[in-house]
Subunit: 301 residues, 2 copies
């Protein structure tokens, strides 16, 4: 059940009330791929620059990730992001961002990836997402992420993309921006009218909401006391969800809710340490144990 993800890889510097991490591995694609790999092998399409340090490469080899689509581009620099979490870890400020290679042309999709059945178009310019979308005509499920920047500045292209994907994943604030609706159930329904068969609204510590042609479902976050670094929580959620879907092939509403539970639990581990550190010392048995605990917590029948 081949799963492919396209997105960013970056060098992050993170300031948080819990500490600081300098020049660590980050970016939507690597968080997504690492999380998804606990359920399914992942094919990665992403680019870094010639400055990408060898010591940040280890995680690429620690997970079941196909690196044929990872380009180290000569003459380019890696995407860099510096962010600061405030006392309320739900709020963060971007202190600096250098797009670098992300502002250049997309890395090519290896020929061997063209038969991918499950495609995740992580957040990038919707023009790039459309171009990637066109390369996976045989895909069973194509899901996209997006952000406020594109909703505000590339609305027409984004609407074009929405007509061509099966699912959309976005934050609650982005759902409001896209639809003008504060109620995420109503916002989700409006997005369905734009094309996708389902929408997942991510609410951070408050969990996630699925709005599907067959109804709506909400899941809470796993109750977490040890939040060290929320970076990548949304990407690991998406990765766990898509990895689970690729593994089980169930895109029904009930199947997606189970996949969201997998995403919820792997994200709850990710935030326990900086960067990908917690994912690196995690195994499927530990995940399954917490998934069992999560399912038991939600057993209200």
């Amino acid at each position: 059940m081949s799963l492919i993800v396209t997105g960013s890889i970056g060098i992050d510097t993170i300031h948080a009330p819990t500490g600081r991490a300098d020049a660590v591995l980050g970016g939507s694609a690597i968080y997504f791929a690492a999380a998804a790999s606990f359920w399914s092998p992942v094919r990665l399409v992403a680019a870094v620059g010639e400055d990408f340090p060898a010591e940040l490469e280890a995680p690429f080899h620690a997970f079941d990730i196909d690196l044929a689509g990872l380009e180290k581009r000569e003459g380019s620099q890696t995407f860099r992001w510096t962010g600061k979490y405030l006392e309320d870890m739900n709020d963060r400020e971007t202190l600096s961002v250098e797009l670098n290679v992300l502002a250049e042309e997309l890395p090519p999709v290896p020929e061997a990836y063209r038969d991918s059945r499950f495609v995740f178009l992580a957040n990038t310019h919707p023009g790039g997402q459309l171009e990637l979308r066109s390369q996976f005509g045989r895909a069973e499920l194509v899901v996209a992420d997006t952000m406020d920047l594109w909703i505000e500045n590339e609305r027409a292209l984004l609407e074009d993309l929405l007509r061509q994907v099966d699912g959309l994943v976005l934050n609650d604030s982005e759902a409001l921006l896209l639809t003008g609706e504060r109620n995420p159930v109503i916002a989700g329904r409006k997005i369905l009218e734009m094309g996708p068969g389902f929408v997942v609204v991510k609410k951070g510590e408050h969990g996630a909401l699925l709005v599907h042609r067959d109804g709506a479902a909400a899941l809470p976050a796993f109750p977490a006391a040890d939040v060290v670094d929320p970076t990548g929580a949304g990407d690991t959620f998406g990765g766990g969800m898509m990895g689970h879907v690729a593994k089980h092939g169930d895109t029904s509403m009930a199947g997606l809710v189970k996949a969201m539970a997998a995403g919820t639990v792997v994200a709850s581990f990710n935030i326990e340490k900086f960067s990908l550190d917690r994912l690196l010392d995690l195994d499927r048995a530990t995940i399954d144990q917490r998934l069992k605990q999560y399912a038991a917590m939600l057993n209200v029948a």
Copy 2:
């Protein structure tokens, strides 16, 4: 399994983006009692003034509520509240409040109520809650609600109360105010150190969190598109929860989570119409149908 609630009964005027309701029935105790009565008979202790209009009395008789403790006090006026919901229905402003009878002495607890096994001390001055607490020495479970006003101004009395109750129900903003902790799991643990065996943190549209000596559990709200009037959502949640506990007598962590699910679902009906209008045309079969839907939605095992 006798359940008693003490709290306010008021005449509310509500402005909302969805409409306006003038001089309708409100107050924590009646919302709580009506919701709880779907699971268990409820004994009510509350006072209204001589101005209380006959046309607002019907709901008292529409539910299984013992009115022996409802005092109509001559020479006093009923509590009145006027509030306005903003575009984001999570925010509300109090436009005016007249405490009236709420600022006077508490109504007496009928002798016949003294054997109540389940006691809910709805939000009022902690001095009054302590006085009521002392009248139910034989209770199996005593749960209190509180608010920012008492946390800020009557801290010592509130801490005294916390040493004498089994559970506390409060909003997330109140949990932060009480403990200085933004993470509701950590805030809940700090509250446990103050005395109660469990804490329920209400998060409105984001559901509720239980922090218990045996662990923590989160439940989402029922995904609702038709929010007309959020007034009483927290009180009906508490009522459904306590009614369920009084019915089944299960105060274990798993029992409380099931009770919270009952509260979640009855609250999701309450917000569909102004005042108690939706509860008045609701029956247990309709509640059970949605509870089944809610449990199925949360079945991620």
